[in-house]
Amino acid sequence: MKSGSRLERLLSQGEFVVTAEIGPPKHASAEPLIRKARLLKGYVDAANVTDCQTAVVRMASIPAAVHLLREGVEPVIQMTCRDRNRIAIQADLLGAYSLGIRNLLCLTGDHPAVGDHPEAKGVFDLDAVQLLDMVRRLRDEKVFQSGVPLKGPEPRFFLGAAENPCGAPVELRIMRLAKKVEAGADFIQTQCVFDLECFSRWMESVREEGLDRRVYILAGVTPLKSARMAQYMHENVPGISIPEEIRERMAKASDSQEEGIAIAVETIQALKRIPGVAGVHIMAIAWEEVVPEIVRRAGLFPRPQLPEETDR
């Protein structure tokens, strides 16, 4: 075991895992986090806490994750390279580990120009690959990025990275994925999958490279709430394309929320059949309350428990 986190243990037991995403609030109260944690508890194996996603200021992911821990939901903290240099990242991660956080998703981060403080300086002292390498060495070699040894217990994180399965060119994306695995990624959470054909082709390349045996792939799933959202994401979200068929289904549906849920459930069931997919990561953007229903309808409820949890 690298970290002994729930997520790592369930994956190593061969469970098809379910993770979800929680965006911290744009204020100083933990109330929304606690509400979302209670909503998701028992339906997901772990929940990602975003690190100022889309470069918009929110509560920091480490303290937000502590609120999740208190509610009994295992967090996956996200750490981007946008706002911190290598000194700040390592310092924050030592603190995060001391607070009981065990899963870490390493991201480059969205550029400040797309967020709510476009005049901010983007740090990008490291990129996501270098970040993974640094945190793996903290864990496995017990040294800081500089090579200076730690003076006590090392932070032992289960390390994740992100990947866009429908990005082009495929060969370049696979090379980058291989690099992330080489640098230390234990699991991958992908950008949301709408185009199953393109995702399957990507998984084929992943298997050809043998990467599915070296890293757990969690496929991203986003339930669409409306036809407008589908169109917006298709046109405006970098790296996402939604097939016309799905956009049409959303447009024609009498109950678009129900249709969005149905598409998400079908997508999960299809993903489950693709060799090498180890789980799903449900990103219900500002619609966390729908996650339990999706998990149930996809046949993924109840979630597995670890031995000590069933003893209780």
Binding site: H111, D127, Q130, E163, G167, P169, R176, K179, A183
Partner: protein
């Protein structure tokens, strides 16, 4: 070359309001080539400043249009010493280096920057200049097929593209091609795409930022 652009004219008139005798000092090197601070721009600015003062009223302004070969070498500034006697202020149409050399060479002269210095780059079309180098102190272009990811990727990524490129364009600025896709295509043309598997370690920013201003000493040149 160093690429610069003129500061707004009202900024300059405001800065020069207290002075009667003002030199406008251009530079024949980079800023002349990028049409911001050569002899022609110096002449035009000097005339415009005098005219504005006349129209606006107040003490008459006398300008001295001067252009040197390179404002970033004391050797070329020294000959201005006689001419600048009695001059109260100067607008430098040099880059940020030129402004500082001028101020250092003439401690009695109040120096105002006439340009905003932008980047190390070059022209890509008539009236268009683009950045190519961040002057980071440790060139990686042998790994990236002559395309600098530090400069030309919005996030300065050194290990391949982020997931956001759409149809080969940068997610941050769709006007710009994704540097990593350009790098990939070029490496492929040379059969060197294996270079993309190379893990580039974190950059040594000491080379880029130093301990304050960077200094280069080459003993073999010193002699």
């Amino acid at each position: 070359m160093i690429v610069a652009k003129p500061k707004p004219f009202p900024f300059l008139t405001e800065q020069l309001r207290p002075y009667r005798k003002v030199a406008v000092v251009g530079c024949e090197t980079c800023v002349a080539v990028c049409l911001a601070g050569g002899e022609r721009e110096v002449r035009r600015l000097a005339q415009a400043l005098e005219l504005e003062r006349r129209v606006r009223g107040g003490v008459e302004l006398l300008t001295l249009p001067l252009t040197v070969k390179r404002q970033c070498e004391y050797e070329y500034l020294e000959p201005l010493r006689e001419t600048l006697k009695g001059v109260e202020a100067a607008v430098s149409l040099g880059c940020g280096v030129g402004v500082q050399y001028l101020a250092a060479a003439f401690p009695e002269l109040w120096v105002v920057p006439g340009l905003d210095t932008l980047m190390a780059g070059g022209p890509t079309a008539l009236g268009v200049w683009e950045e190519y180098c961040r002057l980071c102190g440790e060139c990686l272009l042998h790994l990236t097929g002559g395309i600098c990811p530090l400069t030309r990727c919005a996030k300065g990524l050194l290990n391949g593209p982020c997931g956001g490129a759409s149809e080969g364009r940068c997610e941050v600025n769709p006007e710009v091609p994704c540097a990593w896709i350009l790098i990939y295509e070029r490496l492929r043309r040379f059969g060197k795409e294996e270079l993309l598997r190379h893990l580039t370690p974190p950059k040594n920013w000491q080379l880029a930022q130093g301990r304050g201003p960077r200094k280069l000493v080459r003993e073999e040149v010193r002699g």
